[in-house]
Symmetry: C2
Subunit: 444 residues, 2 copies
């Protein structure tokens, strides 16, 4: 789709470009910006129809927005700001420097200014930072017919009209009515008769991850956000929740791979920003791994006597790490999806105990045969390595399964207790087991 | 919420239970089933109001459904089947044994039977297996007013009425109209004037992951599914897409931790089913890791001469594994979210080269100082270990960053090229580098 846009810009066929842009979807046009340099981005943006420009603008990345805004006149900028949905505008302003926000506030009305300031104060990842103010409000005393007329008059600029909010004179939220009901029900019923009073609402400071769970559990399309006095301050729509789900999952992936999470896309991140997010955990884990140096140091005479023992260390450690990662990943994901709770601690322990026995015995047996047949290792060495393997797999799985729950219990992110951390812990334990078994088996 | 239900069942206050159940949300009642044994599940289900029962039924797990169905009379079962949305019924039937499906088909009408058979044939994870048939269809020649009347008459049983589908006499999909437009536009306009002809549709066999991307990209609430002749066969709704997103992400997590993916919840899986999914990859990786045995074996005389070299092997291998996991995780996630494409291969390579230089030099320097100051290691050993560290971190990150893209290129799932696999590959390389540097540095 976007190739056509690039072609037209390349060939400077701007009249045709303007024509064809009208027929294109915002999301497709936005993709074209990914392929353009700053100069051509600005050119392309100039040729967008006024009403499409805001929609496309809300699809762009931070850097792309900054580039385009830097080349805009004040009036153009204000036009775009006015066309943006309120939540998209706030998202955009949050990324911009303070003096830019001042410029925007200066040209806003008193009321808008207050509202913008209020929304900019909501913490990132809170309900407040997700919500928009373009909703339909109704009164209890209206009839269905009056409500539909009210929607017809005011609905054009609303982000959604599929759920309407029934407010009293103090803007307290009294009920919800879906457009579905308004269309299906009789015209002369009162809103008070058709509205749902038993609705779910969230508070401005609630965390976005919890809000996403509510959307999933109740299959919602929108969720109202109220303040302490139960007054409606905004609504959250499902499209933003899908972004939240992706964002929270990406954070989990990054934490589980021992990185500081970031919302920046990989290809848009600077080299030093990427390095900075990776170094702290790598350092911490590297220093922790030096415990293993001490352990090997303590058993140096054993190694000196039976150097062949060293050969199996990498395999033992890799397998322990892999076995632990499997368990911790399943548990971390289960916690994230709400399938595993704190009180399932014992259940998880018992399951991992049993699963790890099965897995350990299978791996240990295969390894035993392999060492005897293919590596023609001495019997006592093969036994030492295989018994260690069974025991480390069991330790790894039990630790991997329970540490994420322990982390959750301590109000830490369970995702920290993933592969890298588990591997570091289990490696040290594996070595101790290995050398202990070796010394007694080999009579050292 | 569910605690109250358990309490009432416990105390056998069934009249009260029946009353209170009426006020509860389906998703909350479904949660109570998680805490009940088979006998009490059946009791609870009996006390549900008829219209709520189907809704709650669609929230239950496979095993819970089987338990409840096993205790149902034929008539009861048929009532539930009739109340279920078509996609939920198909989901349920897919889980049931063939003779159960036969029973259901026997009591269905000729037309229903054909439809059920057709839907059961769609492969898992295809558009066909996600879609439902409860949609509103309109005709081009209707006016907005007639369309709204048509919706009022037929809309009650539809899964959604927010997007309506304009079909010709052969059921070919000609356009979409949102309920938003129908409500906001003038009553006497024709549907042909207000419908969107430039809509996005998917085919029955399209993969659910692609479909989820389309929903995300275009912020859709529903998506029509058409057959080869462009006839509408069903629609997919956003609530099912959220489940798809969670399911696909869980699959990625599991593959990245070297497991066969499964949709079963952890706490509901059997011990052997859990073990079976973990053993194959662990075995494969274990056997691959024995390459390292050969490498260490080849350098046994070096180790014998300088036994202290063995002490740093675990730290080097852990750090290499962690560094590689970081890169592969970022790239795999980037590919899954569509942020990184095949043609970004070279960009990723260059970035990882530069990032890994920064990370490697920082880690190497810290390790050098640590070994000299805290472990009081000989200078040449400290240099050997630290130089190896820089080189393995660089190798790990470049391999970790590029292998997922290579896998994608070879039509494999990039998630396979995650931590465990990267660690196994990089460990072998790390050892070779380590001993090569050691032999030349230490003049062995």
């Amino acid at each position: 789709m976007y190739e056509r846009i690039l072609e037209l810009i390349e060939e400077k066929k701007f009249v045709l470009l303007k024509e064809e842009l009208k027929e294109m979807r915002a999301a497709d046009v936005a993709e074209a910006f990914d392929e353009l340099d700053k100069k051509n981005s600005i050119i392309l943006f100039r040729f967008l129809a006024k009403d499409a420009a805001a929609d496309i603008f809300s699809h762009l990345s931070t850097q792309q927005r900054k580039d385009i805004v830097s080349a805009m006149h004040e009036t153009q900028l204000n036009e775009i700001m006015e066309e943006l949905y309120f939540d998209d505008m706030i998202d955009f302003l949050e990324e911009m420097p303070a003096n830019f926000i001042k410029r925007i506030l200066a040209s806003a009305s008193e009321e808008e200014r207050k509202l913008i300031n209020q929304f900019l104060k909501y913490p990132e990842n809170s309900a407040g930072s997700l919500m928009t103010i373009e909703y339909v409000d109704l009164k209890k005393e209206m009839t269905v017919k009056q409500a539909l007329e009210h929607i017809k008059k005011t609905g054009v600029d609303k982000e959604t009209i599929y759920t309407c909010y029934v407010l009293n004179d103090k803007r307290k939220l009294e009920g919800l009515v879906s457009l579905r009901k308004l269309v299906l029900f009789d015209d002369d019923l009162f809103i008070s008769e058709v509205m749902t009073e038993d609705f779910i609402a969230t508070k401005t400071l609630d965390d976005q991850e919890e809000i996403a769970s509510i959307f999933k559990k109740y299959d919602l399309l929108t969720l109202p956000v109220v303040d302490k006095e139960d007054r409606l301050v905004g609504i959250i729509t499902i499209d933003d929740i899908i972004d939240v789900i992706d964002q929270e999952t990406t954070e989990d992936f990054q934490r589980m791979a021992a990185m500081e999470p970031s919302e920046e896309e990989y290809l848009r991140s600077g080299i030093f920003s990427l390095a900075r997010r990776r170094i702290p955990w790598l350092l911490l884990l590297m220093v922790s791994a030096t415990f293993t140096e001490g352990i090997i140091g303590r058993f140096e005479d054993v190694l000196q006597a039976v150097a062949i023992l060293a050969a199996s260390i990498p395999m033992l450690m890799d397998t322990a790490g892999n076995a632990g990662s499997q368990s911790s990943t399943l548990i971390i994901r289960g916690i994230a999806l709400g399938e595993i709770e704190l009180e399932d601690y014992l259940k998880v322990f018992k399951r991992e105990l049993r699963v790890s026995m099965v897995v350990g015995v299978v791996l240990g047996s295969v390894n035993f045969l392999r060492m005897l047949i293919f590596s023609s290792a001495p019997l006592n060495i093969a036994i030492t390595v295989s018994v260690t393997l069974v025991m480390t797999v069991m330790m790894a799985k039990i630790i991997g399964g329970t540490l994420p729950i322990a982390a959750k219990k301590m109000k830490l992110d369970p995702a920290i207790m993933a592969g890298p951390m588990i591997t570091t812990i289990v490696d040290a334990l594996a070595l101790i087991v290995y050398f202990t078994i070796a010394t007694s088996m080999l009579g050292l």
